[in-house]
Symmetry: C2
Subunit: 265 residues, 2 copies
Amino acid sequence: MPIAISDSDDPRIEAYRAVRERDLVGREHRFVAEGEVVLRVLARQSRFAPESLLLAENRVDSLRDILANLPSDVPVYTANRAVMDAIVGFPIHRGILAVVRRAPLPPVEELLARLPERALVVGLVGLANHDNVGGIFRNAAAFGADAVLLDSETCDPLYRKAIRVSVGGALVVPFTRAPSADAMVQALVEAKFDVIALSPSGKETLARLERSPRAALLLGAEGPGLPADLLARTRTVSIPMSGGFDSLNVATTSGIALHHLAGTK
Amino acid sequence: MPIAISDSDDPRIEAYRAVRERDLVGREHRFVAEGEVVLRVLARQSRFAPESLLLAENRVDSLRDILANLPSDVPVYTANRAVMDAIVGFPIHRGILAVVRRAPLPPVEELLARLPERALVVGLVGLANHDNVGGIFRNAAAFGADAVLLDSETCDPLYRKAIRVSVGGALVVPFTRAPSADAMVQALVEAKFDVIALSPSGKETLARLERSPRAALLLGAEGPGLPADLLARTRTVSIPMSGGFDSLNVATTSGIALHHLAGTK
């Protein structure tokens, strides 16, 4: 049964207060997911379980099927728009929020050890843009990547906007963080992954690349790209482009490369 | 020689006033481009020529090379940040704007008739999102597409944000508008293009598709996709995805498909 909240100071909805400000400082143990598409992924196929939901009253009816399947100990709070906006701190057009507990991040070695003999992993180095990280998780989910590894400079995939751009992919694809890009590559090599670094200066061409059973795709930020010492230790691959316009968005690049790697033997 | 503007009401910079409001109603004869990356494309390889520039004083030095190569009848106005913000109507962080004259849009048949025997065209149907249209133009430029065709529902690629997301690609790849998606397909068929419609229900798989010398890639909006009557008249192609997560961004989809089509004989 939904619990109606009429006072924006109600202590039961403490976790939903000042969403943006808390997003900015980062949340250590929880994250916030928003919108119907993301909530459906959260309920159906996510690695995470919600602690509670906060819904605008007028959204409850369209979510009956999700609510019916929630564990009974997950409180569903409802509020009218004015109260919800006052809680959250800005007009929350989608009217659908969930507070979700984070899972501990396993060491890279442990995550890799769990993967099957044939596996596809994505490694992100220095990706500080939430749209790009979200877009990459969307593609990783679409092409069935087994895991995503993040270096210490890559931003949080469980940031609200990254989850939204990922269309829930950030809740589905297992990920963890490596202490550094070097440590990430070392762990991949030790786990017998063929490490493929995408770079405009790559020696092989993506379209001709035959993948190994265990393949890891490394992506760096647009502009700086992957560090030179990392390129020197990996198999470098480029996507040939038209003269004078050598520029792809990194999320698009991930889609092109994952499509190729997921489809080749 | 740059012309210093000290009064935001100066009639010479009339075209830069209230940029956002004018973007919203649309500009019939001109458009506004912003930022250094876009200005470099505009100066070097664009199909369009600027009528004038408006630069923040502190940006002039880093653009000397561009300014030196501008035709001498293109006025370059400069202003301090406060005056520039007052002209434009919001804080214009990039400090670089150009007003550019549009070119007339040729009939689709005329644009297609100009293309070489081997040609790659992108057709957009019902794409109302500027980020997606900008992203598609970026990919079209990166993979050397010869032209983009827009149906009447697809938004303006020369909208400020679409140009920015395209990293200038919207200024490079020739485009025009068809009266309808039907008319677009008919013109493509008459010009001997193999019309490839991307759809989750497509009968062929992209990775196995062999392209014809003249290939046209049709893309519809995420969600509705391409209309059924159009799919019935074209070669339909899908991108296989992982179970339960059948979702790619349409700009990413264009990148995957153009990479395949540009690379195959």
